[in-house]
Symmetry: C2
Subunit: 151 residues, 2 copies
């Protein structure tokens, strides 16, 4: 398959499916953040959780799930990984509900280191998308989160 054919096919699939475009966009952008944070062993998603926790002071897994609109099982496992890295502590009855999750001193140090790296990724993304693209993302996010809150 030559490049022309490939390009044509890509256009066909892309023209058809919004889902495809969103997934590709996600792969590209998330990759920028993940690569940037890779030197300190942090993933973009975990960085978001750390950020939320540091603003909140403390939160339960359910809080994280609600605030960041993530599936509770995803939160459960991610929290577990972060706990193993000693970035956070989880207090409360091992099994029972109502945990209290807080960022550890180590976690705060990590965040400090993450900030510079994250900023670079954010800038790279902004350059890639352009001002217009960034605004589009902001708007799309508003639309989606508005629809989510209705449920």
């Amino acid at each position: 398959m030559n490049e022309q054919e490939a390009s044509k096919l890509a256009k066909v699939v892309a023209a058809e499916c919004l889902g495809y475009r969103v997934r590709l966009l996600n792969r590209v952008i998330t990759n920028i953040y993940d690569r940037a944070l890779q030197p300190i062993g942090l993933k973009a998603n975990q960085a978001n959780i750390l950020t939320m926790l540091s603003y909140a002071g403390q939160a339960s897994a359910a809080d994280i799930s609600r605030v960041l609109v993530m599936e509770k099982s995803t939160v459960s496992r991610t929290v577990d990984r972060m706990k193993k890295n000693s970035w956070i502590t989880v207090e409360g009855h091992g099994d029972g509900p109502s945990q209290t999750i807080t960022v550890t001193a180590q976690g705060r140090e990590l965040m400090a280191a993450a900030h510079a790296l994250w900023k670079k990724a954010q800038q790279q993304t902004t350059e890639l998308l352009g001002e217009e693209g960034v605004n589009a993302i902001l708007k799309l996010h508003e639309t989606v989160s508005a629809s989510k809150s209705k449920r």
Copy 2:
């Protein structure tokens, strides 16, 4: 944590990170397609590959990887799953390069069934995002795929 606090936190994280917004957007939109296709056991991503293959007639794994801009290991495993479902056939030297992947009769039937379901998801997405949102996605996709082709 009450709803006001949660909402405020969400805004903070979202305001900070474009990556977060894109991931959320991806989760919401991909979920629409996955749920729509769920009755026939097809995932959005696999549907895209099937579509590409049916337009192409045949393609190698490397072609899929290039056209849809997916990691080759992702393609390898997804192709494997689709093959197990008899939606596609893979011909060529078991190990060696240059496979020839084609859609089977079963695969074509599946696509026919998928089309109606996919269309519903597409419409649902369009309603969710609005005309403006859809245009934003189109534009973002162009920007991203243009940057990709430069590499």
